[in-house]
Amino acid sequence: MTPTDPHVFVVEVEDEPGVLTRVSSLFRRRTFNIVSLTVGTTERPGISRMTIVVDAPDVAARRIEAHLWKLVNVVRVEDVTRAASVRRELVMVKVAADTEARTHVMKLAEVFRARVVDVAPESLILESTGTSDKIAGLLDVLRPFGLLEVARSGHVAMVRGTGTQGPHAADTESEIVHDSNVSYSV
C-alpha cells in the first residue's frame, strides 16, 4: 500500500440533524476529496455509523482524523486503512441484454456471484456485493454488453475479530503514523 492510497475511516456520530453536513463540510472546507461516504444506523440507538473513503496521503489522513475528533457530534473515529478489516460495496448494474445475450450475461454474473434481481426484454439488473476490485472486475466484463445504469452504495468497513479497534488501542497508534518519525500523544 502506498502512502497515497485511499484512506478508510469508520466514524460514529450522534444521529442528529445536520451532523452529515458538519462532517461533509469539514472535508469540503479542508479540500479533502471524498471518494465515498455511507451512513446508516448502528446497534446503538442514537448513534449512526459512517464509512468515509478519502483520497489523501498519510499526513493528511492524520489531520482528517484529528479534525473529525474535534466535531462535537463525533463519538469515535478510526482509520481502518491498514487494519485487518472487511470492506464491502454493493452495486446494481443494468446491463443491455436481449434474448441472445441474456444467457451469456447470466453466466458471467454467476462467476462473480452476482445475483439477477430483475429481468426485462432488453435488459437485466444484476446485484453484487464485494470489494472495489471485484466490482470493478464485474463492470469490466459487462461493459461490452452495454452498461445502461450503474448504482454503487459506497463502502462499508468493519474491523475483523472481537471488539473494535478503539481509538486508544496501542496497535492502531502505530498503524496511523507508520511511515513517519513523528510520535503523537493523542
Binding site: A66, V182, V186
Partner: protein, 571 residues
C-alpha cells in the same frame, strides 16, 4: 419551578458568570430582551451586530472570560459573521446568541429568517439550533464548555421565538452538558514524546522558541520563561504571541515573520531546533514553507491535534495544554546557556538599530512609528492596546513593547479591518481598571466608527489613536512594492475625525507634528473619558522589513539605511 425559555437563557448566563452582553434587539429576540430586564446583566447596545461580536471577542481576549453577543434573526445574525470568523481564526471564546423565527416557520422563508447555523457552520467550533424551551439550559451550559475547553473558539446558539416564549421546568443540575461533548480529558504527555523532545532540546546548539497565542490562552508564560532561562533559548514571537513572553526580557527576540526584524527571521533560518509553542506556522510567519528553517528539527506543542504537521512536518508533535506539556518537559531540560548562539544573533542585528526609524534625525516628519514609540513611553508600556489591521498594526507590534499577556489585542488570523474600536470597548468593559488604547488606521476606523455612539451612550473610556495617512496604507505599500506604484483605490478621503468625535460628544485632538504627540497623549490620559487623537502622519510611509508573501523568510526587503535616507532628505 416553571420558567420561560427566555428566563432560562438569562438564568443560565448569569450562572455561567456573565455580567455583560453586547447586542442589538429585534423581532425574533424580543422575548429574550424583555426577560433580560429582570436579571443582573449589563447590556451594551451596539450600532451594528458586527460590533457586538468584536466587543465580545475583545472582552474575552482581555480577560480570559467568555464574551457574549446577542442579536436578532436574519440580518442581525448575518451581521455577526465577520466577528465570528475573526474569533474562530484567533481562538477566542465567545458565545453568540441569535433569535430565530418560530420553529413552525423554519424553512418557509419567513420574514427575517436565515439559516444562521448553516452559514456559521465552518466558522464556529460548534453551533446549536434550539427549538424547545426544554433544551435551552443544557445548550447554554454546553456552549460555554465547548467555547472554552481545549482550543477556545466561538459558539453560536440560535433560539427560535417560540422556544424563548414557552415555559418548562428549569433544573440547572439536570441540564449538565452532555459528557460526550465536553470535558475532553487532558492527555498526559507520553514518555516517548518527552524523551524525544528532551533529546532534541538538550542537544540543540541553536534553538529558538516560537511563542504563539497558545501561551496566553493557556496561561503558560511562567513555564515558557523557565524553559527559556534554564537553557538559554531565545524566544521569537508571533503577532498574537506578543505579551506571552516579556518584551523586555533579554531572551526576547521580538516578532517573527513578514514584518519581523531581520535578525529574528535569520535566526529562525539558521536554527537547528525550533520549539513551537501554541502557534500554527501561519504563512505570515513561515514565508516560503519549502525553504523554512530547513536545518532545524522541530518540536510542536499545541492543544489542537489538527495543527500538528498541518504546514510544517515536525519531528516531535505533542498534543496538549502548554502548562501540562511544559510542566512535564522543563525539569528534564539541561540547565545551561548558549552564549555562542546568542552572540551570533547579536551579530545578526548588525546595523538594524541604525536603520530604525526611531534613530533617524528629526526632519519634521511625523511617522506612525514615532507615535507608537511615544505611546509606549507615555503609558509606561502598561496599556491594553487594541489594534486594527494594516500598517499601524505592524508598527504597533514593532514599537510598543508588551510585557504582559492580554495587553495586545489584534485580529491576526482573519485580519479584520474595523476590529479595533469595538474590540477595545469589549476590553474596557471586561477590565474597567485598565488603560485601554485603540489604534486604528483611517480606513479600518471608518468601518466601525459608529460605535463611537456606543462609547458615548455607555460612558466608556477608551483612548483612540487614529493613524491617518490618507491611504489604505498596507495595500498601498503592496502596490508600491509589487504593482509599480499603481495606487488603485487606495487614496482615501476621510472626514475630520476630531469633528466627528466632537459630534458624538467626545473630546478630540488633531496632531500633525512630532512635538505635539506626547502632549496630546498626556492630555488624553488626563481626561476621564474617551478622547480621540487624529494623528496625521507621513502619507507614503512603509513598514520595514518585509518578507514578500511566499518569499523565503530570509529574503527580506530591508529598511533603507539611515544614512542613505538622510542623504535623500538633504538632496
Amino acid at each position: 419551578m416553571k420558567k420561560t425559555g427566555s428566563q432560562i437563557l438569562w438564568e443560565c448566563l448569569v450562572r455561567e458568570g456573565v455580567t455583560d452582553v453586547f447586542g442589538y434587539p429585534g423581532g425574533a429576540i424580543l422575548p429574550a430582551y424583555d426577560a433580560m430586564l429582570d436579571f443582573p446583566i449589563r447590556h451594551i447596545l451596539v450600532r451594528h451586530e458586527q460590533g457586538a461580536t468584536h466587543m465580545a471577542d475583545g472582552y474575552a481576549r482581555a480577560s480570559g472570560r467568555v464574551g457574549v453577543a446577542i442579536a436578532t434573526s436574519g440580518p442581525g445574525a448575518t451581521n455577526m459573521v465577520t466577528g465570528i470568523a475573526t474569533a474562530m481564526m484567533d481562538s477566542s471564546p465567545i458565545v453568540c446568541i441569535t433569535g430565530q423565527v418560530g420553529s413552525r416557520l423554519i424553512g418557509s422563508d419567513a420574514f427575517q429568517e436565515t439559516d444562521i447555523t448553516g452559514i456559521t457552520l465552518p466558522i464556529t467550533k460548534h453551533n446549536y439550533l434550539v427549538t424547545r424551551a426544554e433544551d435551552v439550559a443544557r445548550t447554554v451550559r454546553e456552549a460555554f464548555a465547548v467555547a472554552t475547553q481545549g482550543r477556545p473558539g466561538p459558539v453560536l446558539i440560535d433560539i427560535t421565538k417560540d422556544a424563548q416564549q414557552s415555559s418548562c421546568e428549569f433544573d440547572w443540575e439536570r441540564a449538565a452538558p452532555n459528557v460526550r461533548h465536553v470535558g475532553v480529558p487532558r492527555a498526559a504527555i507520553s514518555d516517548s514524546d518527552r524523551r524525544a523532545a528532551l533529546d532534541l532540546i538538550n542537544s540543540a546548539k541553536r534553538p529558538v522558541i516560537l511563542a504563539g497565542h497558545g501561551i496566553i490562552l493557556s496561561g503558560a508564560m511562567p513555564f515558557v520563561r523557565e524553559l527559556a532561562e534554564r537553557a538559554g533559548i531565545p524566544v521569537a514571537m508571533t503577532l498574537l504571541g506578543i505579551g506571552g513572553f516579556p518584551a523586555s526580557h533579554p531572551l526576547n527576540l521580538g516578532m517573527m515573520g513578514m514584518h519581523g526584524e531581520a535578525w529574528v527571521n535569520t535566526a529562525i533560518q539558521e536554527a537547528d531546533l525550533l520549539i513551537a509553542l501554541g502557534m500554527r506556522f501561519d504563512d505570515r510567519v513561515t514565508g516560503n514553507v519549502r525553504t523554512y528553517a530547513r536545518g532545524a528539527k522541530k518540536i510542536h506543542i499545541d492543544v489542537d491535534a489538527a495543527e500538528i504537521g498541518k504546514i510544517v512536518a515536525v519531528d516531535v508533535g505533542i498534543v496538549g495544554d502548554l502548562c501540562d506539556a511544559l510542566g512535564a518537559l522543563v525539569p528534564g531540560v539541561d540547565p545551561g546557556q548558549r552564549q555562542d548562539w546568542i552572540e551570533r544573533i547579536n551579530a545578526l542585528k548588525g546595523d538594524s538599530a541604525v536603520r530604525d526609524i526611531q534613530n533617524l534625525p528629526d526632519a519634521g516628519h511625523l511617522y506612525a512609528a514615532h507615535v507608537m514609540n511615544d505611546l509606549w513611553h507615555a503609558t509606561h508600556g502598561r496599556a491594553v492596546v487594541v489594534t486594527d489591521v494594516g500598517q499601524h498594526q505592524m508598527w504597533e507590534a514593532q514599537y510598543y513593547h508588551h510585557d504582559s499577556p492580554r495587553s495586545l489585542i489584534t485580529s491576526g488570523g482573519l485580519g479584520t479591518m474595523g476590529f479595533a474600536l469595538p474590540a477595545a470597548i469589549g476590553a474596557k468593559v471586561s477590565r474597567p481598571d485598565a488603560e485601554v488604547w485603540t489604534i486604528a488606521g483611517d480606513g479600518g476606523f471608518q468601518m466601525t466608527m459608529p460605535e463611537l455612539a456606543t462609547i458615548k451612550q455607555e460612558g466608556i473610556d477608551v483612548k483612540i489613536a487614529v493613524i491617518n495617512n490618507g491611504y489604505l496604507g498596507m495595500v498601498r505599500q503592496w502596490q508600491e512594492f509589487f504593482y509599480e506604484r499603481r495606487y488603485a483605490a487606495t487614496p482615501l478621503l476621510s472626514p475630520d475625525f476630531a469633528k466627528v468625535a466632537e459630534a458624538y460628544g467626545l473630546r478630540a485632538f488633531t496632531v500633525k507634528t512630532r512635538g505635539e504627540v506626547v502632549p496630546a497623549i498626556e492630555a488624553a490620559r488626563a481626561h476621564a473619558g474617551t478622547v480621540l487623537i487624529d494623528f496625521q502622519v507621513e502619507q507614503e510611509d512603509t513598514v520595514y522589513p518585509m518578507v514578500p508573501a511566499g518569499a523565503d523568510l530570509h529574503a527580506m526587503i530591508r529598511r533603507p539605511s539611515a544614512i542613505a535616507e538622510t542623504a535623500m532628505e538633504e538632496a
